[in-house]
């Protein structure tokens, strides 16, 4: 079998002895470096992605705490800022250059390194082979490279924080000419080059990973695992990978053209500019071209973030409601709809760039169409828990929280997607509230749900439940406290990416509110550290898993040993006989029938 051959080095032992002797499970003694660092085991790689993602989430979160201090308390000074930012916060007051650097890097690392790398990287790697019944990815070597490109991209991005001209500071979208001209902003110097190189490497990582995920899902499913028996997690991860493979190269091209404009004297994005006392020779380019290229990735990107969270939430909601997911095929169709439409809505980020109003109209129509598959998903989730037997595991709480946040954030999208309303709300705090709720917090909730749910499979131990519930309630309430009032600020026209509002007659009345938001943000940040603490302590000290299927789930990953080795199953890979959602009477008093159990006589398959 091809998938056995793919990981020949240490699975050999399984093949030669394992088939006949289930007890004799000899693992090669692997060196620490090949086992934990340059590992080709998808489970190790997924944990590498997750822990790197956690690191970046802490960095990005800490940055938000710093700039929330500035936004909430513009008059005050903070020693902690000088401690971390040094001369960028002389006397405890953050420099505007640094403020813009922090919001830029905060956005970049959370969107790309945490919610793309950390989320898809972790769960695509972990769940695809385990849930489709494969011993590893199609190419474990490319998979390893994917992680290491991600890691190097991270190192480069991190190093940009320490250079004298500071990190890129043009916002996470880095629109030229601001990002192209070092005369226009300090962050557009070396910091911007590092940003571009880091993103280029990240694109490489994402492509290596994505191609691998697609090939693995299409080719390496175990016997009986037809596409229509796949759990929705896998369907979601498949479309995530397709979105990434088709759209990330466009970001790469945008980045390369920008590098040319910066260093090779080309004029792709530059025209008729007078900056820092002199006119530049560039004519004929268009800064809007960059925006088209950027958002051609940028919009699918938000679905790259959302789909894995949707898939995991579907799986966790069904398992913990003890009911099949409602409308399995409708769920797949809506994923397909979202994937297709995700490529056709990018210009809704550009309604006020002066684009043709007719074209704007087309994009309004396509954008609001995407609300339909999203609505179908929400109603299907609600029907899934309807008349269920809900078990509030920590993972389930986060999955429920995910649905609530997805509804709230999704609905505000109907304001922004409608160009006539966007014409006022564009680039205000309404946008900040919208995307933080819908693709920031709700994707994080999907990710937390996944981590709590699959932690027992990852480490053979449980995370601490009580701490998990505390984490859930603080994060859920705190997120709404932070972002709900921002909608109002946005409706009042308060622009995003402002360092200080106190001189604005129209916006200064929100000072007290901004303070409250900052305090809530700090509390929520500390609650996340609480989670990180729980995560790492539970790896070694958590309660041990004794039941191989602790959640009484149907999917294949729970048929592996409690701590699966490289190759996942000791003996043969189980054959699949039914879909992933047979949560029903098994005839012996149980309420679920795993996928590898053959159909009973007279039983209809789904």
């Amino acid at each position: 079998m091809s998938n056995e051959a793919a990981i020949h080095t240490d699975v050999h032992t399984h093949d030669s002895h394992g088939h006949h002797d289930d007890h004799a499970h000899h693992e090669h003694k692997q060196h620490f470096i090949t086992k934990y660092i340059f590992s080709q085991d998808h489970k190790i790689i997924s944990r590498q992605f997750l822990i790197t993602g956690i690191f970046w989430a802490i960095v990005g979160g800490l940055m938000s705490v710093f700039f929330r201090l500035q936004l909430g308390f513009p008059e005050q000074t903070f020693k902690v800022l000088t401690m971390f930012l040094g001369d960028w916060a002389h006397g405890g007051k953050m420099d505007p250059e640094m403020y813009y650097g922090l919001i830029t890097i905060h956005g970049t690392v959370l969107v790309f390194f945490v919610l793309t790398g950390g989320l898809s990287g972790t769960f695509a790697n972990f769940l695809i082979p385990l849930q489709i019944g494969a011993r590893d990815m199609a190419s474990p070597f490319l998979n390893m490279l994917s992680y290491w490109f991600f890691a190097i991209a991270g190192v480069i991005m991190f190093s940009s924080l320490f250079i004298t001209t500071g990190p890129a500071s043009g916002g996470w979208t880095t629109y030229p000419p601001l990002s192209a001209l070092k005369e226009a902003s300090m962050g557009s110097g070396l910091g911007m080059d590092l940003w571009l190189v880091s993103m280029a490497l990240f694109v490489v990582s994402s492509l290596l990973g994505g191609l691998n995920y697609i090939v693995t899902i299409l080719n390496m499913r175990t016997k009986g695992m037809s596409m229509t028996r796949l759990p929705l997690t896998i369907w979601a991860l498949l479309f995530t990978a397709i979105l990434g493979v088709l759209s990330f190269p466009v970001l790469l091209s945008a980045a390369v053209l920008l590098l040319f404009d910066r260093h090779a004297g080309t004029s792709f994005y530059l025209s008729e500019i007078y900056v820092a006392g002199k006119a530049l020779p560039n004519v004929g380019g268009s800064p809007i071209l960059y925006q088209h290229l950027f958002w051609f990735l940028g919009h699918p990107e938000v679905y790259i973030i959302m789909l894995p969270a949707m898939g995991m939430a579907s799986e966790i909601l069904a398992t913990n409601s003890r009911k099949p997911i409602f409308g399995y095929f409708a769920m797949i169709l809506s994923l397909i709809g979202i994937t297709l439409l995700a490529f056709l809505v990018w210009a809704h980020h550009m309604f006020v760039t002066g684009m043709s109003p007719f074209l704007g109209g087309v994009f309004v129509l396509l954008t609001l169409l995407i609300a339909i598959p999203s609505a179908v998903k929400v109603f299907n989730w609600l029907t899934t828990i309807w008349k269920g037997n809900i078990r509030f595991t920590v993972g389930m709480c986060f999955a429920l929280g995910f649905v609530s946040l997805f509804i709230s954030g999704g609905l505000t999208g109907l304001f922004l997607g409608n160009s006539a309303l966007d014409i006022h709300l564009h680039d205000t705090y309404f946008v900040v509230a919208h995307f933080h709720i819908v693709m920031g917090i709700s994707a994080f909730f999907g990710m937390f749900a996944g981590i709590y749910h699959w932690f027992p499979k990852m480490y053979g131990r449980f995370m601490n439940n009580t701490m998990g519930y505390i984490h859930f309630f603080i994060t859920f309430v705190g997120s709404y406290v932070i972002f709900w009032p921002m909608h109002y600020e946005g409706v009042a026209g308060m622009p995003r990416r402002y360092y200080d509002f106190s001189n604005w007659e129209s916006f200064k009345q929100f000072g007290e509110l901004n303070q409250m938001i900052s305090i809530a943000a700090i509390i929520v940040f500390i609650a996340q550290l609480f989670f990180v603490f729980n995560y790492f302590v539970s790896i070694w000290k958590g309660k041990k898993v004794t039941d191989p299927n602790p959640w009484q789930s149907n999917t294949l990953e729970w048929t592996t040993p409690i701590k699966p080795g490289h190759g996942n199953w000791d003996g043969e890979i189980p054959e699949v006989h039914r879909w992933a959602y047979d949560y029903k009477d098994d005839g012996n008093g149980g309420d679920f029938i795993p996928q590898h159990i053959p159909l009973k006589e007279g039983e209809e398959s789904h």
Binding site: A279, G354, G360, V364, F379, I390, T466, Y499
Partner: protein, 348 residues
């Protein structure tokens, strides 16, 4: 040092909390895990209900706190249309929001596991799925129809006879240009720009430039009930003309000219009375990230009556005359200096 203490304290709190949390799991083992899980599930199911109540109370409370802080009514023709459309969208989304959130939390409470119910196998229903595909589709169609109607009015051609004003962004302030008595703006080219005597790079061979008036702090003087078309440009990076009181916004892109038009309907003086705020001003904010001074890129918009506007216009000298006084020795009186006290001092 105190920072280190703080970190130490936080870690200590974490350790204590973790130990407490662990001991609660010990209790679970002593009590019998199933028993404990059952009790906990009940508490959590109930707390979902409490969460829902807290959520909605919070929303109402937040709304009441925010309402007095919100800006005044829309001050333009488009703004009135905008506010109507906003309300329609708010109602549609509001109904869906309340309905789905209530169902979500109510189901959590209602269908928590008690251990005595048989699981319900309900995997799919064509009828239900058809309903919740078509209903949102119809709602979307309505929103798109209202939206596009408003969009095409707002972005359509400016009415004939609209006042034209150019507004140009640069790091970090706005510059406005008025056409002067001939009613036409002259040509400009970026290579002619210099900060000493040609802020916008006007081409002096074009005679239409001679009477153009430039206000270097970007002040916009609009006339009540007279449509105005803004001709928007940028000297360096992308900026954005944000006019939140008029519900209008448009990017200022180097190398490209963009336009918006609207009709102001309330003068600044009237708005001062309406809001009861003596300091009320219409503000133009930069809404596109443009560098370290982005947040300070402010200009004042004055809406006045035609008579006031004419009087103001008469007092202005053309930019050319200001910079070439030797060619126009007879001209008097000297223009009042532009009010610079309202400019924000940059924080550096």
């Amino acid at each position: 040092m105190s920072g280190l203490m703080l970190v130490f304290l936080v870690v200590l709190i974490f350790v204590v909390l973790y130990q407490v949390a662990r001991s609660s799991e010990m209790v679970a083992q002593i009590q019998g895990e199933q028993q404990f899980d059952k009790k906990r599930n009940k508490i959590l199911g109930f707390s979902m209900l409490i969460l829902m109540i807290a959520f909605f109370v919070g929303i109402v409370w937040c709304h009441e706190y925010m309402l007095p802080l919100m800006g005044p009514e829309a001050a333009s023709n488009h703004g009135v249309q905008y506010d109507f459309m906003f309300k329609v969208t708010l109602w549609v989304t509001g109904i869906v929001f309340v309905l789905t959130q209530v169902l979500l939390f109510w189901f959590c409470f209602k269908y928590q596991r008690n251990g005595d119910k048989a699981p319900v196998f309900f995997a799919h229903s064509n009828k239900l799925e058809l309903i919740w595909t078509t209903v949102p589709a119809i709602a979307m169609a309505v929103l798109v129809a209202i939206g596009l109607k408003a969009w095409f009015t707002m972005t359509g051609e400016a009415p004939k006879g609209a006042m034209q004003i150019e507004i140009v962004g640069k790091q970090f302030n706005w510059i406005s240009r008025y056409p002067g008595p001939d009613g036409e703006l002259g040509k400009k080219y970026f290579l002619n720009i210099n900060d000493k005597d040609n802020l916008l790079g006007q081409d002096w061979k074009d005679k239409r430039n001679m009477d153009d008036i430039i206000i270097p702090n970007g002040e916009l003087r609009l006339v009540k009930d007279v449509p105005v078309e803004l001709i928007i440009g940028s000297r360096d990076v992308i900026h954005d003309v944000g006019l939140s009181h008029f519900r209008m916004k448009m990017d200022a892109v180097p190398g490209i000219t963009t336009r918006i038009w609207f009709t102001p309907t309330i003068t600044t003086a009237e708005m001062k009375i309406k809001t009861g705020n003596e300091n009320f001003v219409y503000e133009l904010s930069c809404d596109q990230m443009c560098g370290k001074g982005h947040y300070s890129m402010r200009a004042i918009v004055v809406v006045e009556t035609q008579a006031e506007h004419d009087k103001w216009l008469k007092e202005q000298k053309s930019y050319y005359v200001q910079n070439h006084p030797e060619e126009f020795p007879a001209e008097a009186p000297i223009v009042a200096p532009v009010d610079s006290s309202k400019k924000i001092t940059m924080n550096k």
